[in-house]
Amino acid sequence: MAVLRPLDKLPTLNSGVLLLVGSDEALQQKLAEAILQEKKDFNISIHLAASLPLPSERDHLRPRIDLVVFMIDIKSKYSLKNVEASLAHVDANFFLGKVCFLVTGVGRVNACSIETNAICQLGKAYCSPVLFCELELEGIRVATAQRLLRMLQICAGHIPGVSALSFVSLMRNSDDD
């Protein structure tokens, strides 16, 4: 069982690597396309995975992963369980700001089967920010893509003076309020 580690590979020049973990593949692709359509000045590679651990046979080909986004569909309890199982395969150093929980489908409150409180607890337990969004809507999808892109820039060390850790501590303060 390979544990995903944040710093065991050298970073590639001028690039950021995003890992999307979630059980809904169509949503992942939509979000990935939205992120790639954003205006940016560095190379982005987006890896999609249904769950962790990632296959170890392709480990030497995979670049250093800068940000892991766990996608939780608020309409399915399975997605939350899947994410919780995947979290065990992430090294503790990742939770110093390089992990983010993305809750999708927030627009349809009637179809909720997961309590938002449980997700917030999850984010608090893993010291990681929780973003709520509705990927079916064009505007929110673009906004989410921009947010994730900005976070990726920070996590990949593209913003001088701002580290992932300082960013996540900023985010957490706003959460606690």
Partner: protein, 256 residues
């Protein structure tokens, strides 16, 4: 414009093929992660600004790695300390276990000895019940054993008495030693006192000498005064105060 030159080409054509279809059932082996690569900076686009920006990024990443390295060093040293503590714990635990093993061994030996004794007495009792030559011999030896053990007990009592006397004597010797020490202390103090006395005698002798010298000096001075008064030819009997002085000079100090 420099910033514009860095803009990547349109993203859509450079997509890698998307992920292979997911199995609907959860599978133990995770799905391989597909990679979408965005267009990169062409060599022709590189300019000073882009290089500066890259340098900043590299610096930021270096800082991150340094921080991680520092944290890991601390973690490593802590881990070493924990290992040493665990080793010590294990060593003490093994010592304790060895001790308990020894205790168990000793108790086992004692128990086997007791068991053997019980077996022997049982066999002897059975033999005695037979009422034959052997039983007679056994009874005789048992009587002898009884007599011998009585003798042993007596001798042990005697030994105890002697030991008690021995301890008494030792106690007395101890008392004597304590007394001796006290006496030696007394002798020491008296010796010190005796040494102090001659010193005081010496002091008084020197004082006497000084007094003697002073007396002689005053006698000489008296004589000088007397001769001065007589030699000056003054009629000292007329003046009352002078007469008193001369008469006082008559009293020689040395005579007293």
């Amino acid at each position: 414009m420099a910033a514009l030159a860095l803009e990547p080409p349109a993203p859509a054509p450079t997509f890698e093929p998307p992920a292979p279809p997911l199995d609907p059932e959860p599978i133990p082996a995770p799905v391989p992660a597909p990679v979408w690569v965005q267009g990169s900076i062409n060599d022709g686009d590189l300019n000073a600004l882009a290089l500066l920006r890259l340098r900043d990024r590299l610096k930021e990443q270096l800082v991150e790695y340094k921080a991680a390295l520092l944290a890991n060093q601390e973690y490593f040293t802590n881990h070493l300390k924990i290992n040493i503590i665990e080793e010590k714990l294990i060593q003490s635990a093994t010592k304790n276990l060895q001790k308990s093993i020894e205790e168990v061994k000793v108790s086992l030996q004692n128990k086997t000895l007791a068991l053997q004794r019980v077996q022997i007495t049982d066999a002897l009792r059975n033999q005695v019940d037979h009422n034959d030559e052997d039983s007679r011999l056994i009874l005789e030896t048992m009587k002898q054993i009884g007599l011998l053990s009585q003798a042993v007990v007596e001798y042990q009592q005697q030994a105890n008495h002697k030991e008690e006397r021995m301890t008494d004597i030792k106690r007395k010797r101890l008392c004597l030693k304590v007394d001796e020490g006290q006496k030696v202390e007394q002798i020491q103090t008296t010796m010190d006192m005796q040494e102090e006395k001659p010193a005081s005698v010496n002091v008084s002798e020197t004082e006497n000498n000084k007094l003697e010298q002073e007396k002689q000096m005053t006698a000489v001075i008296q004589n000088v005064f007397q001769n001065l008064i007589v030699g000056s030819g003054v009629n000292w009997a007329e003046d009352a105060s002078l007469k008193a002085v001369v008469l006082r000079l008559e009293n020689n100090v040395c005579v007293h």
